[in-house]
């Protein structure tokens, strides 16, 4: 079955430390891939997206993600986390010409001072 998996429900990192949030997908072909962030009480904001081309994509707020076809992964990274990055992060996929976006369960990020 097609699915999006975010293996980590909750991650805690210290401010200034590096961050990697994992996302794996299970689809027959390479989907279009997205990362969204949701701050408490807010809607979802698009961080970055991958359609094709360079497998390392840059997003807003200093985030980047790398698409690895061999691992069916699209992990989100940030070199140095800021306290304001504390939020829920969602990986999402959509198949070409399908227009049906499906989300992972989310990873909640806590940032320690």
């Amino acid at each position: 079955a097609q699915s999006v998996t975010q293996p980590d429900i909750h991650i805690t990192v210290s401010e200034g430390a590096s961050l990697e949030l994992r996302c794996n997908y299970s689809y027959g072909a390479t989907p279009y891939l997205f990362w969204y962030v949701q701050s408490p009480g807010q809607g979802l904001q698009l961080l970055l997206k991958y359609f094709s081309g360079d497998t390392l994509v840059q997003g807003i707020k200093g985030f980047e993600a790398e698409f690895k076809r061999s691992q069916s992964s699209f992990n989100l990274r940030k070199p140095s986390v800021h306290w304001s990055d504390a939020a829920e992060y969602f990986c999402a996929v959509v198949m070409y010409n399908n227009n049906d976006m499906r989300f992972g369960a989310g990873t909640r990020l806590t940032v320690k001072p």
């Binding site: 997205f34 979802l44 698009l46 989300f103």
Partner: protein, 112 residues
């Protein structure tokens, strides 16, 4: 408008009552989605509209849920005979291309 607008932002209703949630997408966006986010859960796909095509209703959890989109713009999600398990944040998103959606801030529904 500048973004996706949802109303009301909060709704408290009594069990068994009907509720209507409204989504006003970005002008020109042809794709519109409804998702549900329960406390501590991820996003659950409910329904998808694309232009004048028949909507994809495959995510609606029961026949108490329905949605329509008038004139290819504003959408209304209706929940009949609300139950406590319907309590959640209902999120609407729209897109022009179908990829990379803009989300509204959601409607927090509480059924008491």
């Amino acid at each position: 408008g500048a973004g996706v607008s949802q109303s009301p932002s909060n709704k408290v209703t009594e069990k068994g009552k009907d509720v209507e949630l409204r989504c006003d997408p970005i002008s020109g966006h042809t794709a519109l989605y409804w998702y549900r986010q329960s406390l501590g859960q991820g996003l659950e796909f409910l329904i998808y509209f694309q232009g004048n095509s028949a909507p994809d209703k495959s995510g609606l959890p029961s026949d108490r849920f329905s949605a329509e989109r008038t004139g290819g713009s504003v959408s209304t999600l209706t929940i009949q005979r609300t139950q406590q398990e319907d309590s959640a944040v209902y999120l609407c998103a729209s897109s022009w291309t179908g990829y990379g959606y803009t989300f509204g801030s959601g409607t927090r529904l509480t059924v008491v």
